[in-house]
């Protein structure tokens, strides 16, 4: 038998290269260990790299927009206090190093959260409870960028539609139209039924807002990189909107199903609470699903990049980058998929709420 095809296999070649890389890096890490004593004094000045804090910092919201190296944009801080509204630049905190004397209190950034400090420099927990942080944070700005992009894209597409009434789609319009038709024909119509057109605006907005935020989150440099859809508060807001839309559009059959289900009377004490929990749990699942999926993607990518810093070796970089590339491509799919699933389930819930029962 001829085995030459095995030697020609691309897979094999790739794994050989990978194993060579890994062995080189293994030798290198041994070398690092042996050299460790020598460079320890030098490293002692630098902070030890802690991947957990680094990754969590990257996926969390922030009062700064970190661009690269030591460069970061301070973002405006807006505080609603019991005495009035405070408004100043985040630069005043110097990344939490210094407290800032505001109009009403002295504030300090503790773990990127604003706390009131007393005269002794200690955090005043009681007064901290009186201030509400309405700052324009990184995620807020990212959200605005996403919103602005959506407005630019869809207003221009809408104007194309007005200009080319009744004609075949052209240019950017023909890129967008299949997606809109996808939302209408694959998401709204099969799940909601003939009343779908009323819910199209909210479904389209949810779909495209999630999708564009997911995509922007995948871009590692400035306009992107924020983890908006991987922020549980953002998904909480979306889920709340879904909850409101579903329950406000619900008809009498839906409420009858919840409060007067077709079960023996003695089961009511069990059924009604279960149904009521169901009202909350469905949007809750939406919230967790989107948050967890997008955060997980960001964490995996950041972990792979962190490998370079954990091993303190540039040789690991090609492996990391290869895996990150793979993950990013996967995340492109996930970005669409999660937007689709969120919208799809929203449509499904609306569908159950507006469904006409004929008993």
């Amino acid at each position: 038998m001829d085995f030459s095809h095995i030697l020609n296999s691309k897979k094999l070649a790739f794994s050989v290269i990978l194993s060579v890389f890994l062995s080189v890096f293994a030798c290198k890490s041994f070398a690092i260990q042996s050299e460790k004593a020598g460079v320890e004094e030098k490293n002692a000045k630098e902070e030890a790299f802690n991947p957990t804090t680094a990754i969590l910092e990257h996926i969390a919201d922030s009062h700064y927009w970190h661009v690269g190296g030591e460069v970061s944009f301070p973002l405006p801080v807006i505080l609603y206090t019991d005495k009035g509204i405070e408004n100043f630049s985040g630069a005043a905190f110097e990344h939490g190093a210094k407290p800032y004397q505001g109009k009403y209190y002295t504030y300090k950034l503790v773990d990127d959260k604003i706390r009131v400090v007393g005269a002794n420099g200690e955090v005043d927990k009681e007064t901290s409870k009186k201030i509400y942080d309405f700052s324009i944070t990184k995620n807020v700005i990212a959200m605005w960028i996403a919103g602005l992009l959506l407005l630019i894209i869809f207003l221009s597409v809408a104007s194309t539609y007005k200009k080319r009434t009744g004609k075949a789609p052209k240019g950017f319009q023909s890129l967008i139209e299949p997606v809109i038709l996808f939302v209408r024909d694959e998401i709204a119509r099969p799940n909601i039924g003939y009343k779908y057109s009323k819910y199209m605006p909210v479904l389209l907005t949810i779909f495209f807002f999630i999708w564009i935020n997911n995509l922007l989150g995948l871009i590692p440099i400035f306009p992107g990189g924020a983890n908006v859809t991987g922020n549980i508060l953002f998904t909480f807001v979306l889920a709340t909107i879904v909850l409101l839309v579903v329950n406000f559009s619900a008809n009498k059959y839906y409420w009858k199903h919840i409060f007067l289900p077709d079960v023996p009377l003695w089961l009511y004490p069990i059924m009604i609470p279960v149904e009521l929990i169901g009202i909350i749990s469905r949007p809750f699942a939406l919230m967790i699903r989107l948050y967890a999926n997008i955060s997980a993607g960001h964490i995996i990518v950041l972990s792979l990049i962190s490998l370079i810093f954990i091993f303190k070796s540039l040789l690991i970089a090609p492996v990391s980058v290869a895996f990150v590339l793979f993950m990013d491509v996967l995340e492109l799919l996930v970005a669409f998929l999660q937007a689709f699933i969120f919208t799809m389930l929203t449509a499904l819930f609306i569908g159950t709420a507006v469904e006409e029962h004929h008993h």
């Binding site: 919201d61 807006i78 609603y80 959260k113 604003i114 901290s128 409870k129 201030i131 509400y132 942080d133 309405f134 700052s135 324009i136 944070t137 995620n139 807020v140 959200m143 605005w144 919103g147 959506l150 407005l151 869809f154 207003l155 597409v157 809408a158 539609y161 007005k162 009434t165 009744g166 004609k167 139209e177 809109i180 038709l181 209408r184 057109s197 199209m200 605006p201 909210v202 389209l204 907005t205 495209f208 807002f209 922020n231 508060l233 953002f234 909480f236 807001v237 979306l238 709340t240 909107i241």
Partner: protein, 169 residues
């Protein structure tokens, strides 16, 4: 766990409000200026395409109907033409026959007339010939007589002859 939820509202209410505001503004703006015209345009286009398809189908049916009708008409026309041709042929034959008959009749009539005329003319001619012959005969006879009867004996002989002849005649 308690630590996690401490100051939850203080730290995060702002973001929730901003997100809500952003979403609602986006929903309103996109809903009014993007989704509404886009969906309307798509629906309108689909409707017009469906309309056009239906019309095409109707036109096809109409076409088929017309073709059918044309064929029917053609068939009818052909039949009519055949009928007319047949009638014409019959008429032609009839006319020819009639003409033949008339010609024959006329011919016969003319022949008859001619023969009558001929007979008449013949009779007239004969009569005149007879007359001329008679007069000539008489003249000749006269002259002969004159010559013969110059003397008395000849006159008597003639009278005797004539009398003989008359007896025979």
């Amino acid at each position: 766990m308690g630590e996690l939820f401490e100051n939850l509202l203080n730290d995060h209410l702002g973001f929730v409000v901003w997100a809500l505001v952003a979403f609602v503004i986006l929903l309103v703006l996109l809903g009014k200026f993007a989704w509404k015209p886009i969906m309307a345009a798509i629906t309108e286009r689909e409707r017009s395409i469906e309309d056009a398809l239906l019309k095409a189908e109707a036109a096809k049916e109409e076409m088929a109907r017309l073709t059918n009708e044309n064929e029917q008409l053609l068939k009818q026309a052909r039949a009519e033409r055949d009928l007319i041709l047949k009638e014409a042929r019959q008429m032609k034959d009839q006319i020819i026959n009639e003409a033949k008959e008339a010609a024959q009749a006329e011919g016969a009539r003319m022949i008859e007339k001619a023969s009558i005329e001929i007979n008449n003319q013949k009779a007239i001619a004969l009569a005149s010939v007879k007359e001329q012959v008679a007069s000539l005969s008489i003249e000749i006879a006269e002259k002969v007589l004159q010559k013969q009867l110059e003397n008395k004996t000849q006159q008597d002989a003639l009278v005797a002859d004539l009398l003989k002849e008359v007896k025979i005649g």
